[in-house]
Amino acid sequence: MRKLSCCFFCLLFLVGAVNAAQISLEVVGQGMPKYPIAISPLKNTGAAADPGRISTGIADSIVYDLDLSGWFRVLDRAAYIEDPQKSGDTLGGFDFKDWSTIGAVGLVKGRFAVQGDDLTVELRLFDVAQSKELIGKRYVAKARDFRRIAHKFADEIINQFTGTPGVFNTRIAYVSTSGGRFKEIHIAHLDGTERFQVTNNRTINLFPSWTSDGKSVIYTSYKDRSPGLYHFELFTGKEVKWSSANGRYIGGQASPDGQYVVATLEIAGNSNLYLLDANGKAIRQLTSDPGIEVSPAWSPDGRQIVYVSDRGGSPKLYILDIAGGKSRRLSYSGSYNTAPAWSPKGDRIAYTGRVGRRFAIFTISPDGGNARQLTSESYDSEDPAWAPDGRFIAFASNRVGRYHLYVMQAGGENQRRLTGSGGDDTKPSWSPRLD
């Protein structure tokens, strides 16, 4: 059945307690040198062998996440001195000197045991210089969900050092051609694992957008021959088409509070923004300009919508105050600005802007000031999507040929290509934190 098995996502139970004192914030972050950390493969303390390669699998996932954050320099496993299956994973059970000599400032160690389908994991973060344990967690899950544990612990590590949890227990929804001629909606972790195909209808599917509870994806599909808006529940497989009697919906974005959806409705060639309820029923029309009004995105407080309008001649960004109904122009520089996305922190709006013959990602303050170009105009970068913490942006770029998904920090640092579906991957949407 085309749905996510509920167990696939939800049987993660957090048991353990937080140990030791929180060390000071800002140990990692923008402008700081990367924090050298070692991630040891886990010790197998169960009776069963490890054919699922959980020992290195969990470590690899943590490595991937911390590396992608751009705040950590993960030390190469080839340099590790001790054998994790022989040494201990708790204080007193191993020698911190084995880690300080290779330059580790932070260290992650752990243990796991598999019994049948079930997996128990303990993970600990240590401060090597002070020989202290900073975090200790215990997790119970299905063995096949071992990567989820890694993502949760990576988010804990980031919380420890920055005061805000990481965003690695999330998913990206995106459009992929998978090398073929159709465009389908896919969901995967940032590292490309746990991939799930939302659509498989051999047409064009576009504009995936997560709902705020992380349980559904809204997207536009041509599967009914002309474009329509669809709401798909991941765990039940239930899909509902949202139609208008008067025209066709192009793209919808769910509100942060889960109560509304803003969508573009095209009637006889005119595209305007409409406010819908969470079931796709139209509440009212938000814009009524004869030009093109498209690409809406909510402010995090749900009171404003940033969108694209060509009422000034070419596509520019405008901000609508929903209660008052008035719009003001946001972008004054650049001749073609589109695909806006409002940071969950509220402080910046990302968008795609034309520079010469190319498109680049910019961010701008909601008052219109301090526009910054984050990607190079030597190639195209488009479709910015914010992580739920407002510290990362996912986007699509053709800098190495085909379109691939990338992630960077909110200031443009550490641009990294993500593993994709093999083909052109575009239009990422970043899920809320899961669980």
Partner: protein, 194 residues
């Protein structure tokens, strides 16, 4: 205290998860193949019985629309009696050459009174897909409105936008971009008069 709050969240989270989880009847899930070396099952590309209806598109053997051609793996180059019209970049205005073609298309439609046409609006690949979907709709509507002024009944003309999604060529060149900035006129399969 951090510890107490965390414990509370854990318990609440567990209760919510337990409440919200539908028991999964079968272990099989329709997941696509994962990159990981391991155990994730491959997706079945044919929908399972009862599920397929929900997710397949309607396909027609005489579907000459760009979407129909795409599904059959064919080019959507126009071969029928009605010619494409082309547009300038970021514009839906009808140029003089476009109006010429529209007059010729109108003549054909007047000579074939039973024919109904779907007007497709297309864009080149530059700019975002949403904006181009809306621009394609404007292009299709502009062509329809002009045909209406030439006396073609609006009930014979439907519109659809494909934005930049179904191009006839893919090179990043001005020549190819111009070919894609088009409206296409697809004669719909005939229906008995109602």
């Amino acid at each position: 205290m951090v510890h107490f709050k965390m414990a509370c969240y854990m318990v609440i989270g567990l209760i919510m998860l337990a409440a919200g989880c539908a028991p999964s009847a079968a272990k099989k899930t329709d997941t696509a193949a994962s990159d990981s070396a391991g155990s994730t099952p491959k997706a079945s590309t044919s929908p399972s019985p009862g599920e397929g209806k929900r997710d397949t598109a309607r396909e027609s053997t005489t579907d000459r629309s760009s979407l129909g051609q795409l599904q059959e793996g064919k080019s959507s180059e126009t071969t029928g009696p009605l010619k494409d019209i082309l547009y300038d970049y970021d514009s839906h205005s009808l140029r003089a050459d476009a109006r010429e073609i529209l007059r010729a298309n109108a003549d054909w439609l007047k000579g074939n009174q039973a024919a109904r046409v779907e007007i497709e609006g297309h864009c080149d690949e530059r700019g975002t897909n949403e904006y181009n979907l809306a621009l394609g709709a404007k292009r299709a509507q502009a062509a329809k409105d002009f045909l209406a002024t030439l006396g073609i009944g609006a009930d014979r003309l439907s519109t659809i936008s494909y934005g930049e999604e179904i191009p006839v060529c893919k090179e990043a060149s001005e020549t190819c971009w111009q070919r894609n900035r088009r409206a296409r006129f697809v004669v719909l399969p005939g229906r008995p008069a109602s």
